[in-house]
Amino acid sequence: METTANRPPGNRKLVARLLLLVAAAFAFGFALVPLYDVLCDATGFNGKTRPGGLGVGGIAAPDARAPSRIDLSRTVTVEFTGTVMPGLPWEMRPLTTSLDLHPGELHQARFLVHNRSPQTIVGQAVPSVSPGQAAQHFEKLDCFCFAQQTLAPGETKELPLTFIVKPEIDERIRTVTLSYAFFNVAAQKPAPQERE
């Protein structure tokens, strides 16, 4: 360019710095994803329980496995509910709708799922606990949500769940709701097109 001499000296440097700022902001947007997960794990934000089961929902402490004592002084009501997301031709309902229990007791609940389509379908349940603070103290020892579930055409299945509400749960929480959303695993890849 013939007019380089005319260019104020700092322009190129300043533009480079500002572009760097743009790149940093873009990277920060993606960095928020893991940051958000860390925050959710630490606080039970949004009722996320830790997947995998061995760790407890919330902070995975090594000694969290042994819920030693049962707090007989109070009862907590646990309610169960389930939803089937669009794209999965299943029905789902809790066979146990609610349980009154003492924190620390081992309990079992069962859900009924039914495939009403003529195909074999693989589904995956995603749990959520409400209120969020309770998620840290809701320990699932065994859950159908740990693995994908395969249902043959027309098959009906009972799915078990073993859990403990730990005695550390806040005394002000009287009711905990555990909700499952069942997703179609296969439909996840080509998601939107086949809605109609």
């Binding site: 007019t3 322009n11 743009v22 947007g29 994803v33 949004n46 669009p86």
Partner: protein, 537 residues
Amino acid sequence: MSTATTAGRDARPPAHGGRYRGGILRWLTTTNHKDIGTMYLTFALLMFFVGGAMILAVRAELFQPGLQLMKPEFFNQLIGVHALVMIFAALMPAATGFANWQLPLMIGAPDMALPRINNWGFWLLPPAALLLTLPFFLALFGIGDGAVATGWTLYAPLSVQGGIGVDFAIFAIHLLGVSSILGSINIIVTLFNLRAPGMTMMKLPLFAWGWLMTAFLLIATIPVLAGAVTMLLTDRHFGTHFFDAAGGGDPILFQHLFWFFGHPEVYILLLPLWGLVPHVVATFSRKPIYGYKAQVVSFIAIGVLSVIVWAHHFFTAGMPVPALLYFMYSTMSISLPLAVLFFCWIATMWRGAITFETPMLFALGFIVLFGVAGLTGLVLADVAADAQYHHSYFVVAHFHYALFAGGIMGVMAGVYYWLPKWTGHMFSEKLGKLHFWLTVVSFNLTFMPQFFLGLAGMPRRIPDYALQFAEFNAISTVGSFILGLSQLIFAYNIWRCVKGGEKAADKVWEGAEGLEWELSSPPPHHSWEIRPNFDNR
């Protein structure tokens, strides 16, 4: 810098008239800040009417309960595209048009620092606007199911499941974002490197300071939005699960990412106008701007605070109490620097010799009505109260007081203030005043009832509603049509002023201060080739 584009050509007369490429090529290739400013402003005005037409169709549907004119799907598309068009294709380009026209004139620079990037920044806008609106027309030919129907917030999982309109919106947002970032870089470089000799940062016009904060906010937040919609795109088509709960993602994460951009966006839209209003108020009060330093510091404080308060947009999504409290108090603290600005605007007028020309009327309307937006915003920031108001028409009314009264009316004040400088002609004061009074009355007629609708519990984004909301909706619709039609006066007045009319003086307004008023009206095509010296001012 202007010589960069002209050096290779024949010598041209110093003022108007140089040699241009003919027709559209002139506008496609221009690197002149005045040409580009004109294009930005024209584009903004055009899209203002496009977005306005969409929302008038919505208001017509809401005139009575029941579904009369359109299907709910189409209704959903209209409200979302209305918002995206008004924010990204009307309000932001209008402010960028102001910056292009005025910043070089006000700081004594011959042009913007990066003229070619400036040209590119503008020409990314029309394709983006096309991408936003094209799905409407494609649907007429049976392709896809229309434009983005999620509302402008594009919340997951709705946007993960939506039709091709969402993809069009994602790419439109990418283009608009690139355009905004280029514009911002250009403005920052111009303000840092091209100020007249002797013009220190603390002598910059307030309008320039407002834009400087906007530019930095854009650079900090637009890339986050770009990242969020990119994640949305890969969730939709490439099997990622950022927002898809089935794969371990979280839809709430999208809300965090979106509002990390979305809240500063409000200040991005408004800061240039907070910079502009003091100039208008001081001019017609015939007094210097009161509290220059306080206003600059307030701009910076608002800019910093704006990026740490985003979650107040979704208090009801579920958050631990400490987080709720943090976001509530930090949000409320923004009202302190804003109160400083209001105080300075009023103090500038205090005991001034005020006259009420059209720009001043719009500035006053801006101050009063934007005050309503601020106060109702405080109510919404209250966690306890927000549970009732969230996602109701109260919110709709609140942000239209902020973005129409605080945004569009601020732009109108600026257009009337500088139009004689740009065109060299005076506009019709009579039509201007008529435009103002029709606008301010019909604006309140449109949006004041929506506060009451919200308090009574009417949710936003619904095409049909319960019978008890009928009267207020009818009033609001009548108001909106008067509001929409009175903007035709605005367009006609601008058109007349461009075509001819009474000659404007160099210093158009008696009390005006600043470098731009030392140039002729209209200023020569290349201005401030000899830099003004600012040492002794």
